[in-house]
């Protein structure tokens, strides 16, 4: 009987707990063979339990007629209640399943929720309870009755029975449950005072299952009457009693935590809450849970400062608590909400250092593997995000301290979570941070490590290339270029060759290796590196690169050889140009070293390599100037001809020709004139062309090459807007050369054009023109002989002489000093001629010897004054020269005439020869060897 009662009590308690819980909706099972089997099993169980229910009903049906045993009633009622419960559960399961089907649209009608029906029990037990009040088991029957009424919804009636039971049966085994039930009733009906009283009775039974529940309810009563401290205290008492050491808390405990938090949240401030909790003892195991939830609650209420205090106190009390990473995360988020970004970052920073797998904290807590998956996820995420933040800031703000933190953060991640999928990316970021921080050696190593974590392919190639770039930086930062750096760089490229080929950076990598070797002057190694390019590049291009290295090495000979071979294989403008340029450089070297012949050969080779090119043009120019330097004018002219043929539009021959002309003008004026003449045809600039033509003409004229001078003077005169004096001068010269070449008519025309400018141009020019024109008269005069009849011809010649002398006097009046010796000479010549003509004149016929002698004597006497005048004229010519410091041919001629006519006075011969060239004497030799 006692066993039965206890069992019934146990069942009742279970059922009451069930009543406090909300019904849980179970998940719907799948419709398959397994669920069919389950269905069948359920059906079997149901039928079995329904049988028990029917059995009880049948037995209790007998109550009307028989006096039934109370033990049997209680025993059967136990089974009945059990069966009712099971069937109810099955009904609830079915209900849930059908509801799910309805929600899917597979059922038309919403199923009805099953209701536990105790009406039969109530109807059977009520009379029993009424009549059986004092016997054994009477309190059980009364309790069951009240329980059934309560569950059936007749709570008032049930409450009355419960109250009665407390009074009637104060020592009943049901006292605790009844007190609790009453407490529940009062609580639900808002009768807090009564509820409190009832619950307090329940808490006298510390060992009871309902003890904590009662405390919990008391906590809520205090909460509802705003006595939050007592409320918190009650809840905390529940925790003190029920808190499980293994960390697995039941529902009530969990709710007690929540409730404690709710109560504490109503304290004035977090400090008060902390003080309260402190008073409970800071080593209580539930405190972390409470404080975490309290923090969350305060956060919801935006009481951030309070939250921070709670979290920090939590850490202070429980430095080893496994929730701390989450707490730190929450703190960091709080700081973010408070716009305290730096504090947030600092918090995360602390978190990753305090709680990472390397820490004692982690080692202590890691056994909580499921939870720690979340912690690892959280920490790893933090490590990544915080490190990246520092990395970005460090780069952006150029602050090394941030970069150091980023590096540290990446290290922490890698040492903590080397197996995580993010590890390879973080390794790469670490390498980049090291690079950004200028720690290149470490960066290179990390790039390599990172590369090893990636599968073969372009991405790995990119990382390998970054490593190479790092080596490159190290190399160029070292003072003289460190050969030791190149080796690992080379190995790197070799090791990741296929990856670098895939990402298209192989060529660049090889070039960098080659450049480094070039930098330290190891061209052989540089060339060896370049050879590897054949794997990705056309061998021709590789040869080109090799040739470029020879150039850098200043090994022009080798570069030339290579380019020549390349050119032979595949002659393109580019190869020709390169080869020509190398040859040009070699030629310049020869020039520098004064190897003239070699330089000439090479410059010629440059031109023949790429005729028509700019470098070919430059080579010809150089050749021209080389020859000019050596005064090999013939060769200069040859070059000019070649130049004009190859580069008809180029104006570069012109200065060459002009300079060549200037260089030889003194010793070879006619040849210089030829060069100027040629140069004048090489330019389209009319002004320059005519200038050169004039320069040539002047030289031709000075050297009596009048035929060549004439057309050039004419060319000059074709120019537009010539200054008047220049025009007159050139026309005078044109007239002169025309006279000298026998073109008298044209000459006179030219000279008349000059005379037409009298008064507008220099008198010298006019004077010269007049003098020149007088040559015609002079010629006529000189040609006039004195024949019979003497008087007639004499008069004619006299008239011509007078006219000529008058004209010469006119010229003298121009006061052109340089003309005076010539004019006086001509005057003297005319006078001398008159004298000679007289003496040589035809003698009249029929004269005797004596008469002829007499005639001749008289002629001489008459002629002598003319000689005297001619001498005076010559003397004037000589004097004019001396006075005006002119010693031209005319002065010389005057002198020679005077020496001839008046030898005693003027013939002065020193007997000395003029300047003569010297020859070098050859010298004797010594014996080459002994006799």
């Amino acid at each position: 009987m006692l066993m039965n009662i206890k069992f019934i009590l146990f069942i009742a308690c279970i059922m009451m707990f069930y009543a406090c819980q909300t019904a849980q909706i179970k998940g719907i099972g799948t419709v398959d063979e397994l669920s069919k089997a389950r269905e069948q099993e359920n059906k079997r169980i149901r039928e079995s339990e329904e049988y028990k229910i029917r059995e009880w009903e049948e037995y209790m049906g007998l109550l009307r007629d028989q006096d039934l045993s109370h033990n049997t009633i209680l025993r059967l009622t136990e089974e009945y209640l059990q069966a009712k419960d099971i069937v109810y559960k099955k009904d609830m399961e079915e209900y849930d399943r059908r509801t799910a089907l309805y929600q899917k649209g597979q059922l038309k009608e919403l199923p009805k929720e099953p209701v536990q029906d105790y009406s039969t029990l109530i109807s059977r037990f009520k009379p029993i309870a009424k009549n059986y009040r004092y016997g054994k088991g009477a309190d059980a029957i009364l309790y069951i009755t009240a329980f059934a009424l309560y569950e059936h919804g007749k709570r008032d009636e049930a409450a009355k029975i419960f109250e009665e039971m407390l009074k009637t049966y104060p020592y009943s085994d049901y006292f605790l449950e009844v007190s609790f039930r009453l407490g529940e009733f009062y609580f639900e009906t808002g009768q807090m005072g009564e509820a409190l009283e009832a619950y307090k009775k329940a808490i006298n039974f510390r060992d009871s299952l309902l003890y904590e529940k009662a405390l919990y309810k008391i906590g809520w009563i205090y909460y509802k009457i705003d006595d939050f401290e007592k409320s918190a205290q009650s809840f905390v008492s529940v925790l003190d009693s029920k808190w499980s050491q293994d960390g697995k808390q039941d529902g009530l405990t969990e709710e007690a935590v929540t409730s404690t938090v709710m109560a504490l949240s109503h304290f004035k401030g977090a400090k008060q809450s902390i003080d309260f909790l402190t008073s409970q003892g800071t080593k209580k195991m539930y405190l972390p849970a409470v404080m975490v939830q309290l923090g969350d609650k305060l956060t919801e209420e935006t009481r951030f400062d309070d939250t921070l205090l709670v979290y920090k106190t939590l850490e202070e009390w429980f430095p080893e608590n496994s929730e701390l990473p989450v707490i730190y995360d929450k703190i960091a988020n709080l700081y973010d909400k408070m716009s305290k970004e730096n504090d947030a970052i600092a918090t995360d920073w602390l978190a990753i250092h305090k709680f990472n797998p390397g820490t004692a904290w982690y080692k202590k807590n890691y056994y909580k593997s499921n939870y720690f998956k979340a912690v690892d996820a959280l920490l790893s995420k933090k490590m990544i995000s915080i490190s990246k933040k520092y990395h970005v800031r460090g780069k952006k703000e150029a602050k090394p301290e941030y970069l150091e933190k980023a590096i540290d953060g990446y290290w922490v991640f890698l040492s903590s979570y080397p197996a995580m999928p993010e590890a390879k990316n973080i390794n790469l970021l670490l390498a980049e941070a090291l690079f950004d921080a200028g720690k290149y050696a470490e960066a290179a190593e990390e790039y390599k490590k990172a590369a090893n974590l990636y599968p073969a392919g372009a991405e790995r190639g990119d990382i390998a290339f970054s490593a190479l770039l790092t080596y490159e930086v190290i190399f160029y930062q070292s003072e003289k270029g460190d050969k030791e750096i190149i080796k690992p760089a080379e190995l790197l490229v070799a090791g990741y060759e296929s990856d670098l080929i895939k990402n298209g950076k192989f060529e660049n990598s090889i070039n960098k290796i080659a450049d480094m070797y070039t930098q330290i002057g190891d061209y052989d190694k540089a060339r060896s590196s370049i050879k590897l390019l054949a794997k990705v590049k056309d061998p021709t291009l590789v040869s080109l690169k090799t040739a470029e290295l020879y150039l850098k090495e200043n090994n022009l000979a080798a570069a030339e050889d290579l380019y020549a071979r390349l050119n032979e294989k595949q002659s393109t403008p580019a190869t020709k140009d390169a080869l020509a340029n190398i040859r040009y450089s070699i030629a310049e070297e020869h020039v520098k070293e004064e190897r003239f012949k070699d330089a000439v050969t090479k410059f010629n080779q440059v031109f023949s390599t790429f005729p028509g090119s700019k470098v070919g043009e430059a080579a010809l120019v150089k050749l021209g100037y080389l020859y000019l330097q050596k005064k090999e004018i013939d060769s200069v002219e040859d070059i000019a001809i070649r130049f004009v043929k190859a580069y008809p539009e180029s104006g570069k021959t012109l200065p060459l020709m002009v300079e060549a002309g200037r260089g030889i003008e003194r010793e070879e004026p006619v040849r210089a004139a030829g060069l100027y003449e040629k140069a004048s045809t090489l330019t389209r600039d009319h002004v320059t062309s005519t200038k050169l033509a004039l320069a040539a003409a002047l030289l031709y004229e000075a050297n009596k090459d009048y035929q060549k001078a004439e057309p050039l003077y004419k060319k000059y005169l074709e120019r537009e807007s010539i200054p008047l004096n220049d025009e007159a001068d050139v026309r005078l010269r044109l007239g002169t050369v025309q006279f000298r070449t026998g073109k008298k008519k044209e000459g006179l025309e030219s000279l008349n054009m000059v005379l037409a400018l009298e008064g507008k141009v220099n008198e010298t020019i006019i004077g010269k023109a007049r003098l020149l024109m007088l040559e015609v008269k002079e010629s006529v005069y000189l040609g006039t002989k004195l024949t019979q009849s003497f008087e007639e011809t004499f008069q004619k010649k006299t008239s011509l002489l007078d006219g000529l002398l008058k004209d010469y006097s006119q010229v003298i009046k121009y006061k052109v000093l340089e003309l005076q010796p010539e004019v006086y000479f001509k005057m003297g010549t005319a006078l001398e001629n008159f004298k000679e003509t007289m003496i040589q004149s035809e003698r009249p016929s029929g004269m005797s010897k004596e008469e002829l002698e007499e005639y001749s004597f008289l002629l001489e006497e008459r002629a002598y004054p003319y000689e005297e005048q001619s001498v005076k004229a010559f003397e004037k010519g000589l004097l004019a020269g001396v006075r005006n410091r002119i010693n031209n041919d005319w002065v010389d001629k005057c002198f020679k005439k005077l020496a001839s006519i008046r030898p005693a006075v003027y013939k002065r011969d020193t007997g000395e020869k003029g300047p003569e060239p010297l020859f070098l004497r050859i010298e004797p030799v010594r014996l080459e060897k002994g006799l």
Partner: protein
Amino acid sequence: MKVRVKAYIILILCAGCAGPEVKPSIEGTSSQEKVGISDAATKERMTKLFDEGLRIMDDNPKGALALFNEILMVVPDRWEIYYNSGLSYLRLNEYEKAEERFKKALKNNAPPVKAYNAIGSVYLASGNMIKAVETIKKSLDIEESQTAMINIAGAYQALGQNDMAVKYYRKAGLADPSNRVIHNNLGVLLYNMGNYKGALEEFNKALDKKGDDDARLLMYEAQSVLKTGDYEGAVNTFKRMLAVVPDNPSPFLNMGIIYEIYLMDMEKAVENFEAYIKKGGPKAKEVEAWLEIARNKGKSKEGG
């Protein structure tokens, strides 16, 4: 000893002008067997004769020739002896013999450059410029020595082929820009072309380097200055010439003429003619007549 050393030094210096030496042929060795200089005494004597010939050559080419001929009696196949004896004939103006000896030297393995230069010199001295050019060209084909280039230029100049002369003077000038002879000869070339200013430039360049023939160069310079109409300048140049060769009467003669004819300063003309006569100039008799005329001119000038 000192004299001999000096001679050696001069010879060494001259050897540089003579061009590169050719190594002696093997035949030289066998010649000893042929001629029979077996004894050291004869060897020594011949060598001494040779050295003596070198020493006296400049002042006594005849004596030197005799010595070389003597050596040739004993040693008939050494080119050096033929060469030096040819040189002696040349200094004695015996051109045919000189040519013959130089040709023998060539046959006896004289360096062709030297031999051709020497033969060329014979033609130069004898005035056969065309042959001189032909021969010196052969030397130049082997080696472009300074001597050969200057001599062939001079030959061309004498032939009136100024362009060829200039070409070789330029080439020679490139190797030795301050060479006196080149400047002298270019000056002469320009003088003959009527480019007296250019001639002056060259004579001045030659004079920049002091030498034994400064007086000659000053004469040329003075002549060039005169041609430009700078009579006072010409007088000053003759005075500079006097400073170099104070006993030379020629400057006085030239100054006298300039004063008399051009500057019409009879007093100075008389002074210089007198100085010339005093110095014993070769035309003293003729100058005496000029002196008289100058005095008369001076008197008539004074008289108005």
